[in-house]
């Protein structure tokens, strides 16, 4: 009995050690955001929201100024466009790859995995020139498209997985009932893969939301996003860590809110009737 308790506490100690850096980080993050006048860099003398002053004050950006709201708005647009593009492409491609027979299908699927394995940074220069020739460089829409293209390969696999779960008989029923392929997709399959749509959208949205390299390189100075705003603050001579923590906290809220909001959709799976499957 005793030795078992011992072993148990040893395990918990080990787990606590592993968890400690993350806990300290997050606790420090909150303390800094809401604390004022830090002692030893971590114990606040009093609580307040002065660190959140960027909500009502402009922020210096190089020689000019900007506001948090402008960057926040830009980031919402950027991530939403990227998420929508990923969703639209993946829902169509996923259906085709799940249900339509065509030559080179297996190759195409493997190619998507290989493409996903390529780090996005390697493509930066190529995408820079591509956007330049397309006249989309330094434009939010252009960079959102480029950003979306990075998440499409794995998104297609995700979408295909959801479509694969729908029995063939349901599709055949719809076709006998008078649907063409597009109507099958739109009227029957999309409502049935709502959780999949939510998952793929979150996927596309999230990667664009926290992207830094692409927006930093392809939208230099012209259009400010949250990630470049934070980087801009870090680059100043005196870093106000409380201010930075508060701004970062605001930066993390929308993805969390989106998760909570879409969780309902994620859990609302229509139940297939009958005991048999396709």
């Amino acid at each position: 009995m005793r030795s078992r308790n011992w072993r148990r506490s040893l395990w918990y100690l080990l787990l606590a050690l592993v968890a400690a850096p993350f806990l300290v980080m997050y606790v420090g993050f909150f303390l800094r955001a809401f604390g004022e006048g830090m002692t030893l860099g971590i114990i606040p003398r009093q609580w307040g929201i002065t660190s959140f002053r960027f909500m009502w004050q402009p922020i210096a950006w190089g020689l000019g100024r900007t506001t948090m709201w402008a960057a926040f708005g830009n980031t919402v647009v950027f991530a939403t466009v990227s998420g929508l593009v990923v969703t639209a492409v993946c829902m169509l491609a996923g259906y085709a790859l799940s249900r339509v027979e065509f030559r080179g299908k297996d190759f195409f699927l493997v190619l998507q995995l290989i493409l996903h394995a390529v780090p996005g940074q390697i493509l930066l220069i190529a995408i820079f020139f591509l956007l330049l020739y397309l006249g989309l460089l330094h434009r939010l829409s252009g960079v959102a498209l480029a950003r979306a293209s990075l998440e499409i390969p794995l998104g297609i696999w995700m979408a295909k997985g959801f479509f694969d779960g729908i029995p063939w008989d349901v599709e055949r029923s719809a076709m006998v009932d008078g649907c063409n392929r597009f109507q099958v997709w739109y009227r029957i399959f999309l409502p049935l893969v709502r959780p999949g749509i939510a998952a793929v959208f979150i996927w596309g949205f999230l990667f664009a939301w926290h992207d830094f390299i692409y927006v930093y390189t392809l939208l230099p100075g012209t259009i400010k996003l949250m990630s470049t705003l934070i980087q801009n603050l870090l680059a100043t001579e005196v870093v106000d860590y409380g201010y930075l923590a508060a701004l970062s906290l605001v930066y993390t809220i929308p993805p969390l809110a989106l998760f909570v909001f879409l969780q309902r959709a994620l859990l609302k799976v229509p139940v297939f009737g009958g005991k048999g499957t396709a």
Binding site: D169, R172, A174, M175, G273, G274
Partner: protein, 362 residues
């Protein structure tokens, strides 16, 4: 609608699912496609529906080639084994769906839904979704969805196999009655010979992609074309014994170890040319009579009372025979009994080709 399947072959990579199948389904007929799983019956049905393109051969509806007509333009109704209702729609919307796609005006749509729902007795489940219905209700909704568009051809893919045994017997009768009332040409796929026998006007037996025989249930049961059909039709199935036909003096005798069966005179004439051939003797369980008062090498192996009769398994040298005996017969496992066969009730098959050589009444 009249359906003609003309020399249909369907090949999937290296599997030939359907081989050279020709079949004529008359207008208003209830045709069953019967066979064990993997025999190609569902492939045949899906090709008739237009989901598969024939590798070779053609399919004609009322004499018109439909090979390039997509399923939605074939004017067919279909019910699947899994029912395949749309889970995100209520029963009402499921039934309304084909009408909406055809742009049937709202008023007419509602009238037609009401009529078909009343016919199938599902008025009270109309507001429910498939997940909130029993299997039997889902099946009726699926049937309603298939019938509401007034199709020229109704295709049923194992529609009864997901129902429990009791409900299956009820639906069997109801489907048959419904089909007769509507007079709609129906093709029904099943692996259950009882279902096929009880419901269909004619049955097409398929095995390993090839059509074995087409005929009325009575035909297939009484005059099977080959060993496969004979063994597939009827429960319990026909007994088979490997025998050889020998001429002893002027008598013709079917022989198998200690078992001897002298052929009566009329059969001697017609079977004389088969002497010394390897044959298979087929005996229906109901055509064998057990004589408890006699003793032979046959030993009662097990007795299964079925209420109306008893299924007796008898061990004869080298084989087991299934026999349907009257329920009052008192038999103990292990006792030796005699058994008899009416000479006019025997079936004979060629052991090589498996073709039927003799069926009762021929």
């Amino acid at each position: 609608m009249r359906v003609s399947v003309d020399r249909l072959t369907k090949q999937f990579r290296d599997v030939r699912a359907v081989a050279d199948l020709s079949l004529e389904i008359r207008d208003g007929e209830f045709m069953a496609l019967l066979g064990p799983s993997g025999c190609g019956k569902t492939t045949t049905l899906l090709t008739i529906a237009g989901f598969y393109k024939p590798t070779s051969g053609t399919i004609l509806f009322d004499g018109r080639v439909v090979d390039n007509v997509p399923p939605r333009d074939r004017n067919i109704g279909m019910v699947f084994q899994s029912y395949a209702l749309y889970p995100h729609m209520t029963a009402h919307d499921n039934i309304a769906f084909p009408l909406k796609l055809r742009r049937v005006p709202r008023q007419e749509r509602e009238t037609r839904i009401k009529t078909v729902a009343a016919m199938l007795g599902i008025e009270d489940v109309l507001p429910r979704r498939p997940g909130e219905m029993s299997g039997g209700q889902q099946q009726r909704v699926a049937l309603a969805r298939a019938l509401v568009k007034k199709p020229g051809l109704l295709l049923l893919d194992e529609p009864l196999s997901n129902l429990d045994a009791k409900l299956r017997i009820v639906m069997r009768a109801e489907l048959k009655r419904l089909q007769k009332d509507l007079g709609i040409t129906t093709i029904f796929v099943t692996h259950d010979q009882t279902e096929a026998m009880t419901m269909a006007d004619r049955i097409a037996v398929q095995h390993q992609g090839a059509l074995q025989q087409v005929g009325s249930p009575e035909d297939l049961y009484r005059r099977p074309a080959n060993l496969f059909v004979a063994g597939f039709m009827g429960t319990p199935p026909m007994n088979f014994l490997d025998v050889s036909l020998e001429a002893t003096g002027d008598a013709l005798v079917l022989r198998r170890e200690s078992f001897r069966f002298s052929l009566p005179d009329p059969l001697k004439q017609s079977l004389g040319h088969l002497v010394d051939r390897k044959l298979i003797l087929g005996l229906r369980p109901e055509d064998i009579e057990i004589k408890p008062e006699e003793a032979s090498q046959a030993e009662v192996y097990v007795v299964e009372p079925l209420g109306r009769e008893a299924l007796v398994t008898v061990k004869v040298p080298g084989a087991m025979l299934k026999v349907l005996a009257p329920p009052h017969i008192q038999l103990q496992a292990g006792t030796h009994v005699g058994w008899h066969v009416m000479p006019d009730r025997i079936y004979l098959f060629d052991a090589g080709t498996e073709e039927a050589l003799l069926v009762p009444g021929s």
